[in-house]
Structure formats: C-alpha cells, structure tokens
Amino acid sequence: MIYNLSQILEQSAERFPDKEAFKCLDKALSYAVLDEKADQLAAFLIKSGLKKGDRVAIYMNRCLDTAIAVYGILRAGGVFVAINPLLPANRSLLIINDCGIEFILTTVSQQTKVKEILKESPLLKVVGLSDEENENWVSWNTIFTKSMESFKRPTIVEEDLASILYTSGSTGVPKGIMHSHKSLVCLAKLEADLHHSTHLDIIGNFAPLHFDQSLFGYFSGPLVGATTVIFPDAYVKLPASLSMLAAKEKITLWFSVPLILMQVLMHGDIDNKDFSALRYVRFGGEVFPVNQLRTLMKKWPHVKFINSYGPSEVARCTYNILVEPPQTDDPIPLGTVWGNTEYKILDEKDQEVKKGDPGELVVRTGTRMIGYWNNKALTEKSFFRISQVSGYDHIYYRTGDLVRENRKEELMFLGRIDRQIKLRGYRIELDEIEAVLQQNEKVNEVAVIVTTKEGGDRELEAVIRPVDKATIDIRELILFCSAHLPTYSIPQKITLLDDFPRTGSGKIDRNAIVRQIENNAL
C-alpha cells in the first residue's frame, strides 16, 4: 500500500525501471536511475546530520535536478521547501529563517543568488555548487559517486510532514502551508483518477516547483508510471517554443494557468502543429476568459477540458469537466468537489446560507493542510470546526472565496471575502503590498488596487500620499518594492496624491480610486 510519497517512486522503479520518469529537453531520468539518485541524496543528507522532519530548501529553476531533490529529501524523511529563485534575497531569507532551513539544494546556474543568501546565512549547507570552493558545499557529482552501503531508509508514516509551501501573508510575512505525505498522496491519487492516467501518459509540467500545480507532474505522474516533461523557464515564456515542444513530446495531459493556454492560442501557431496525442487540458489558478476558452476548445475538439479549483491549503478541491465549448459568455462553474470532500457555504455568522445564496466556501477534505508553519493562531483562524462530541471535530478549511451553488449544484465563483487577488495565476495579498510600502519612511498613506484597462488587462497599481511630495521618487519606491516583494506583487504603476477620496467615516475609499483611475480622472 502506498502511504508516503517516497513509495511512489519506489513502486514505479520496480514496475517500470527503464521508463522515463522525468524529461527536460534532451535529458531524461528513468525510474530506476531516479530511484538510485534519490537514495544517494538521501544517504548524503542523513550522513550530514539531517533528522526526520528537518526542512530542506530547493532553490532551482525548472530543471531535471528538481525531481532528484524532491524525492531525495522525502526519502531521507525531510520536508521540501521550494523557494522561488526569482524572489529578492531578503524574502528568501525570511523563508529560510522562518522554518529553520539548514540545507539548500541548488544548481550552478543559481550560484550568484545563492552566494548572496549565504552572506546573510553563512551556516547553510549547500548541495549543487563546486565542493572545492567551500567546505560546507558539495557538488551533485560528488553525491552521485558516493557508495551507499550504510544507508537505511527511515520509516515515513503518512502523518509525517512532506512539504512547506510559502505563500503571501497579508501582514507582509510569507506564511508556510504544511502538507503531510497523506494529503499529497491523496491528491496524487485523485488527480490520477480524474484523468484515468496510466503509464502511457505524458504530462506537460509548466509550473515551477514553488507553485502547487507542479504537484501533479511530480507525484501523480510517477504514481502511475507516466512520464513528466519539465518545460524549462525559457519555453514557458515563449509560446511558439512551448507549443512546438508540447507537440514534439506528444503531451497527453496538460495542466497550467489560463495565461499559458491563452498565449499558446494567440502566438503558438497551433494550427500548424500536431496535438492529436493530447487527451486532457486542465486549467486553474484563475478565471479563464470564456471567449478565448471557446476558441481553444474549437481548435482542439478531441480534448477534454477541465476547470480545476482549490486554494493551496487544500491543494485542489473541485473539478468541472467541460464536454463542449461554452455557448454563452457566462462564467464557467468551478464544478463539483472530489468524492472524498464535503463543503458548506456560510454567511458572516458562520450559518449555512439558503440554497443558491452566496457565502464563504468551507471545505473538509483529505488534501487539507496540517496548518501554517509555526503559527497556531493563524491556523486555527483558517479552520471552521463543528464539534461532533467532545474531542472530535469535523474540520473545514475556510477558503475565503465567495461562492454560490447553481441549479445543477455546481459551485460558482463570485469573488473574495478579503483583499486577496489572483493576477496572471499568482496569489497576491493587496494588504501585504500596502504593509510593505507603509514601511517606507517617505510614505504617509498608501492604497493598492487592481484596475482594469481597455481590452480587459488588469494591472496592479499603488496610490500614495507622501510625507513630503518634493523628495519622493517613484523609481526609488519601485526599487524598495523589488527588494521586499516577489516580482508579481510589485505595482506596475505608482501615482502620488495630495489626499485620497474617503468614505464618510474617513477611511480610504479604494473603490472610488479604482473608478477615478479607470475614468482617467487621476
């Protein structure tokens, strides 16, 4: 029986030793080779002092080594923490310090940024840089030439922690979502069921490891012995290359944000490429504009399209299989929940709403996170408990998403109950950006908003009331943001104002600001 993630690899290495597990351009890892390399990495980590439950950072862009890193850490009983290498060093350090990381796994291509991190955190042990340069560093080559005689795989039970995924927090400090082996194995099985996937499938993995869509390629694929094709960063940015590679690799299962599909549709020259192998296209992370979805579905009539929804705290929880292109421009329902999942829709007083009324979606599922790392208060706040008897509660996760049920009992997405937004697939807390800008000494008050431009493009904008208008420099503020925030959270435009439009009670009227900007009145 498979109850931990390391067994996924172990089992497929027995069943399909010579089959390609992961592929990236002209390089590939068979299941047998990946299994051996994961053992070698695990042996090294344990010998270097890793104890069960210790956190290990993976600091890599999209490449084949990510697969070895993930399975090696898990096999050693460690917890993988994928860090986006495009984050500013300050923010990477916040994560490293928050969960007490001692090991960082990387590649030579990231060495400039890693060395910057090491200046502040010199005790980190590094895997992936030249071992001749520093006694705390070891190269991948050295690890793969070590003998394994004394290595004994540790026991890993399903409740053990497997991963911490950091996401924006509204106070300006990222929060770490903890998933156990149990919840991620459960997700892998649900996703395999959804697509009826087999060892003949070829999965297109477009998401970086720090984005939870990648869990499909890294775990659900290997569970059935499929091949996961990792698309390198450059290919994800250039639609013509991306669609060429997807056609060449004969991708059968596609899972990405709508933006990638939209770019492939517009610039991917897909009419001249062969996508006959493709069986499923699943999209999620944000809303797919219906007119573009329809165009794409008409171009690929042999493909089943699935809308897939879920906050990272429960990985995914709904799916909606679209049998034919949508006839109208009405929003696409989020769909129905997995078989192992229950939900309720609650009003502001935590009472269930009447059927069809809007309210906050709360979800009880096997893929629920354990909680936020080292933050009991925030974890408890995110749970909705219904006590069955003293000591036994049904625990639901509060998604913060506003939904209602339609007549077919499908969930429809209406918006957020807080100020979290989705922009180009990224989860962004507007409050967090405001909190960061507020720390700048030249900023008196700040409002961060999303505006919609002609043609439907949405932009992140900040409006600032400076302490002294004469000395403030917008370029300087942008630099300040880029030192403290991930790129996708940096406002695309900053406007200075002498005062804000305000509500009757004197609060900043953000809706009025949005209206004024959209009407070019600011």
Binding site: P232, K237, D269, N272
Partner: protein, 76 residues
C-alpha cells in the same frame, strides 16, 4: 540596435534592477524578463525597427539573448 534593446529591457520590462545586461546573457532562463515582458518586447521591436515578427518566430533560439534578437532582426 543592441543598445536600444538593452535600454528598453532595463527601463521598461526587467523584473529586477540591473546595471547592465551582457549581449550573451540568458534573458529568459535567468529571469530578467517574464512572459508578459517578452510580449511587450515583441511589440516594441516591431514598432522600433519596423518589422513584423510572426508568432512562429517567437522561439527560444531567436529570443534568448540580445545578440540572438538582433541577429534575428537583421535577417528580416
């Protein structure tokens, strides 16, 4: 040509502050430019150099470095 492209990337689309960009530097893999920036760059090149860049030409081989971008444009 290279200078104009470098200036545009540095001032308009680079996602991190940069002093300079080498003409051989990997714009995409290193994360200097994201996918939206890439689309903006194409629009800029079409306007600035009076060329039409076909979707099928927007490939890694043509766009990964500033040198490759200008080589591609000079063949147009």
């Amino acid at each position: 040509m290279n200078d104009k492209i470098i200036t545009y990337i540095k001032e308009e689309i680079a996602i991190m502050p940069l002093d300079s960009i080498d003409v051989h530097e990997d714009l995409l893999g290193s994360g200097i430019v994201d996918s939206l920036g890439m689309m903006k760059l194409v629009v800029f090149l079409e306007k600035e150099f009076q060329v039409k860049i076909a979707p099928e030409d927007m490939t890694v081989e043509n766009f990964d470095t500033i040198n490759h971008i200008s080589e591609y444009l000079s063949k147009k």
